[in-house]
Amino acid sequence: MDALNGLMDGFATALTPMNLLYACIGVILGTAVGVLPGIGPAMTVALLLPITYNVEPASAFIMFAGIYYGGMYGGSTTSILLNTPGESSSVITALEGNKMAKAGRAAQALATAAIGSFVAGSIGTALLVAFAPSIANLAVKLGAPSYFAIMLLALVAVTAVLGASKLRGFIALFLGLAIGLVGIDGLTGQNRLTLGMPLLSDGIDIVVIAVAIFAIGEALWVAAHLRRRPAEVIPVGRPWMGKEDWKRSWMPWLRGTAYGFPFGALPAGGAELPTFLSYVTERKLAKKPEEFGHGAIEGVAGPEAANNASAAGTLVPMLSLGLPTNATAAVMLAAMTGYGIQPGPALFEEHGDLVWALIASLFIGNALLLVLNLPLAPLWAKLLRTPRPYLYAGILFFASLGAYAVNLQWFDLALLLFFGLLGLLMRRFGLPTLPLIIGVILGPRLEIQLRQALQLGEGKWSTLFSEPVAVIVYVVIVLLFAAPLSSRLIRRTPKEA
């Protein structure tokens, strides 16, 4: 199917009243959870996985897409109005954004973030349309050795590139792989690591793991460190920008997009690096660099655009290769498998209608967010004042409900508590959560590819290097390990910031 035709069909699916409603619910829910502390888009999609039992795949993914983009918007609101960014991707936005808000320019900061997100999201999604199908076309032709290498690259990249400590990243990844081993081995039909418990034969449901690590772990961790007095929220009216603000914002938006999309599309993903690069660039190019550190609008416009463009870029490996590189994408892939849809390069061919509806809904959700968020900003700011006991009681309530609804048995709640405590431990000791989730999801697929590759290669390990793409990918993996050299360079710069 030709990309443009596919996209048109996608719009036709996404624009039905029912699906528009799902898109609306998605973006509103996404923004709300993005604004609320302690709960993010990944966890929200995880909690909503039960709807996959009864809702059409297209509608569910349209809603998930709205939550994904909405979460980005909401995150920027929090970091501008509160001086404590919740996610690493909005740390940079908080730098100048909060200074602007304190100087009485919260409305302009929110406006440049919202409009910049719209611009970046739209361009990013257009680039997704341009690149994802052709990448998928190429990837379909790859054999098991290449596909194994690419998955390995995604695992290594997510683990080694993001986060501060490689050791902790790999511990998290291997714990995830271990969790993924539990259950019946698909090729031999034998139980592994189930302790003889029949309830574990099907493996541990990814919903339970994701909700436990993201929601329970987070809530318990916050409970241990709850602020005596909630952080101060800066009140705000309707966002708007003057002529001067527009003039200073549009170039940073475009430059931020240019940074964000490629980084998001790489298997390493992540919004941290592009937002940071965008910030540094804007500071260097600014006409009034002395404003940086005191609330320069360029320092909000650029990183916010980079953040959203990277979110769009993340969908390239997810839709074209079946590789998730952030938590929300990982949970969305789990939802796909829940529908019996095999994520991977064949997705565009086998489920083109679904994929294109999802992409079309990204355009729609992006526009909806702009229309909704400019007038609703004061309301979102109020949401930040939710009494914390209710907020975290609500999170634990819905987390339990989500896990219970998977199989309607207490056993899943016990697993939820168990892995929730693991999530708490991970936060205490600075173990990153993303490698664990990716390990749980990709581990089993990685094993199958590896065993199939060796099956075809009659057990010879050299078969793993039999395809040129695989060899290239292994070279890249080696380079990634050599990368600390360059990351040390970056590490030095923020000190001057």
């Binding site: 511990i171 318990l220 006991p389």
Partner: protein, 182 residues
């Protein structure tokens, strides 16, 4: 490996997170032990798994568990060594997280207790009741002092979710003791 994340340095950090400079993070040795235990479990727990027909599946079902297990054991060792050298992880920040205070593990234990109670009672009493208790209990532990209101909100949420799942999603949540009433 001990460096703090690249980007956070420039971020408006809340007051310096309880540094305790120089000391060894002893609980982290516990983490290393846990990691080693999981690694050992991966190896021992799949010891008796039989390989399939060797021709069809040369690698067999034991390869990855062993690889993962060995990896975890090695990393547990490294973690123990660097812990003795004074390495400590960077505790995760967040909007509502205040790392300047000592962690309040009593609250965490109470929450885990409420959670365990929910697990024990959910089959008997049903979600509509235990869900409400869960909500009210957690709110109470986290500082809410309005029992009645918390219980009412909890009940609205739990009964509401019962019907939302039943009617909206076609997922019948077991009613427990309220069978026939709900």
């Amino acid at each position: 490996m001990t460096d703090s994340p690249v980007l956070r340095e420039g971020a408006p950090a809340p007051d310096a997170p309880d540094p305790q400079p120089g000391g060894i993070d002893k609980p982290q040795l516990g983490l290393a032990a846990l990691v080693a235990a999981v690694g050992l479990f991966c190896i021992v727990g799949t010891w008796n798994v039989e390989a399939g027909f060797s021709g069809a599946d040369p690698l067999g079902p034991r390869f990855l568990p062993r690889l993962v297990g060995v990896g975890l054991l090695v990393m547990a060792g490294i973690l123990a060594v660097v812990t003795f050298r004074g390495d400590r992880g960077e505790a995760e920040g967040g909007e509502d997280v205040d790392l300047t205070h000592k962690p309040d593990w009593v609250t965490v234990a109470k929450l885990a207790g409420i959670f365990a109670l929910n697990i024990a009672l959910v089959d008997f009493l049903g979600w509509a009741i235990t869900g409400a208790l869960l909500f009210a209990g957690v709110a109470r532990v986290l500082g809410s002092r309005t029992w009645i209101r918390d219980l009412i909100i909890g009940a609205v949420l739990s009964v509401g979710s019962f019907y939302a799942f039943y009617v909206g999603l076609g997922v019948p949540i077991p009613p427990g003791i309220l069978d026939g009433i709900l």
